[in-house]
């Protein structure tokens, strides 16, 4: 029983922390025969511009569109879901990190003082939990590859009619009309048939 308690607690913690490792990975879409249609809030022009010097995709919005966009966004229900609220607090992530630091430190001290086998097993469990926790915090911190890497497959995807995901900075322009999408083209991959 004495051995069971730390092992059971450790297992519980590892299982609980597994939820957070999904932090920045999009959940697999639920199979739905009738996907919900999006609600158009603004109709405007969009220009896609390849930028060989850029590192991040940028969406430039003209001031005239910005006003319409603001009004459109104001009418949309902006209440975040509970899950979004859970994973969007930097303060809580920092405090979680501080507690994780304490946990690892004390586990280390305890491991150093302990010479019994079962204690070492329990300490290994705590250390494993700490590792998983640290990994989940990195995932929460939005760490990821540079924007150019994510956009590199855009030409081929456009040719094949597939979608491409990547980061986007939204910029408000002082003048102009419509929206302009600037995509970093530095690392664009050549289509397969050209590479051969």
């Amino acid at each position: 029983m004495k051995k069971f308690i730390p092992v059971a607690l450790g297992a519980l913690v590892v299982l609980s922390s597994a939820l957070y490792t999904l932090a920045d990975i999009p959940r697999p879409p639920k199979p739905s025969p009738t996907p919900a249609a999006g609600k158009p809030v603004l109709h405007t022009e969009l220009t896609i511009v390849p930028d060989p010097k850029g590192s991040e995709a940028r969406l430039q919005i003209a001031p005239s569109d910005l006003k319409i966009l603001r009004e459109a966004l104001a009418s949309v229900d902006s209440n975040p879901t509970t899950w979004e609220r859970l994973s969007q607090s930097s303060t809580r992530t920092i405090i979680a990190g501080a507690f994780l630091f304490l946990s690892i430190s004390l586990a280390g001290v305890w491991l150093a003082r302990s010479d019994r086998r079962r204690s070492r097993i329990a300490a290994a469990v705590v250390f494993g939990v700490a590792l998983v926790g640290a990994a989940s915090m990195i995932a929460n911190a939005n760490a990821g590859p540079p924007g150019t890497y994510l956009w590199r497959g855009l030409p081929q995807a456009l040719t094949e009619g597939k979608s491409t995901n990547g980061g986007l900075d939204i910029e408000i322009m002082p003048e102009g009309y419509g929206m302009k999408l600037i995509v970093p083209s530095r690392d664009f991959k050549k289509p397969d048939h050209q590479e051969e």
């Binding site: 450790g10 994973s87 979680a96 507690f99 204690s119 989940s136």
Partner: protein, 342 residues
């Protein structure tokens, strides 16, 4: 000489048969009880939740109160620091827990940083538990310092998802009763312990079967206030990807086991005399004890149970909310008494 030896052998064989029978009856009762509650929780989760809470919530708290009084020593002695920490923690954590909704409804607090408030309360709870484990370890001259890394690791997880952590406590609390029962069987009925632990293996299987059957099921209709409260309590808002049918079923199933342990199993195994006799409680029986105070406490508890039934009959939804807020005290009180059993 040979005849005397044969008589001893016969008696031993008889007692062995009786033990086998009692173990078999206990295991059968457990299996039937668990399967029955699982079936009812799966087929009529909302109705079963309403009925079990109405019938058993108050009485199980009264039995817990009586149990805690039974286990309370007359003089704290070496356990003084342990009990002082326990009672102070129970009082402060309960007040803090109750003050959150009170401040919100009084309009003093907008509730915009609700997750932070919950995370802070959960952290205080974990630190209190860590302190209790540490003190108990010192009493028994055991090295229980492993608890601190665990407490801080759990605190870390709590700050990442405070509401999910609270939900985990809601689901974990009913299981504590099973731990109490395990300790008492070990002490009072060791011959039943093996069967009990084997029966416990059914629980993950039953929960897995519930998940398998209800994972893709349609969520329960929570179009009225009471059904909405029940689904929210089971985590409908926090786990929107899961069917509320599954969540409510698992929660009600575990709660029913919790009630079963406190109302049936523990009184049968751990009682030392009639439950109505105040003198069966050491605090009341001892020459320097407090028989009147203990008697008044138990009678007062019965009045509270009756009041709770009246409240459920008059306005079930509001009484349910009030009950689950106040019931945090009994959740907290279980921790020190369980630690005393270890």
């Amino acid at each position: 000489m040979e005849r005397t030896a044969n008589l001893g052998l016969v008696q031993w064989q008889r007692s062995r048969v009786q033990t086998r029978r009692s173990v078999g009856s206990f295991a059968l009762l457990l299996v039937v009880g668990v399967l029955l509650s699982a079936t009812l929780a799966t087929s009529i989760p909302l109705q079963f939740s309403i009925v079990t809470l109405f019938l058993f919530a108050g009485p199980h708290n009264w039995f817990e109160l009586r149990y805690f009084l039974m286990r309370l020593p007359l003089r704290f002695g070496r356990s003084r620091n342990f009990f002082l920490t326990a009672f102070t923690g129970i009082a402060l954590l309960t007040i803090a827990y109750l003050s959150l909704p009170l401040l919100y409804y009084a309009g003093v607090w907008t509730g915009h940083n609700w997750p932070t408030a919950i995370a802070t309360w959960n952290t205080l709870l974990l630190l209190w538990l860590g302190l209790l484990i540490s003190l108990r370890g010192k009493q028994g001259r055991r090295n229980w310092t492993w608890c601190w890394p665990v407490v801080f690791a759990l605190s870390s997880l709590n700050w990442l998802g405070p509401e999910l952590f609270s939900l985990a406590l809601v689901y974990a609390h009913p299981l504590v009763a099973l731990w109490f029962l395990d300790r008492h069987l070990r002490r009072n009925r060791p011959e039943w312990l093996q069967s009990y632990r084997r029966c416990l293996l059914m629980l993950p299987l039953i929960v897995a079967a519930m998940c398998w059957r209800l994972l893709g099921s349609q969520s329960l209709a929570d179009d009225n206030g009471l059904a909405w409260r029940i689904t929210q309590h089971a985590g409908a808002d926090l786990l929107p990807q899961l069917s509320t049918h599954l969540l409510v079923t698992v929660h009600v199933f575990l709660e029913t086991l919790h009630y079963g342990v406190w109302l049936l199993a523990l009184p049968l195994i751990a009682s030392r005399g009639s439950i109505w006799k105040v003198k069966s409680i050491p605090l009341a029986r001892h020459a320097r004890g407090f028989p009147r105070l203990i008697g008044a406490t138990l009678i007062g508890g019965l009045f509270v149970v009756a009041l709770l039934w009246l409240g459920f009959s008059t306005n079930y939804a509001v009484t349910r909310d009030v009950y689950f807020a106040v019931a945090i005290a009994h959740v907290l009180a279980e921790a020190p008494f369980l630690l005393r059993m270890l």
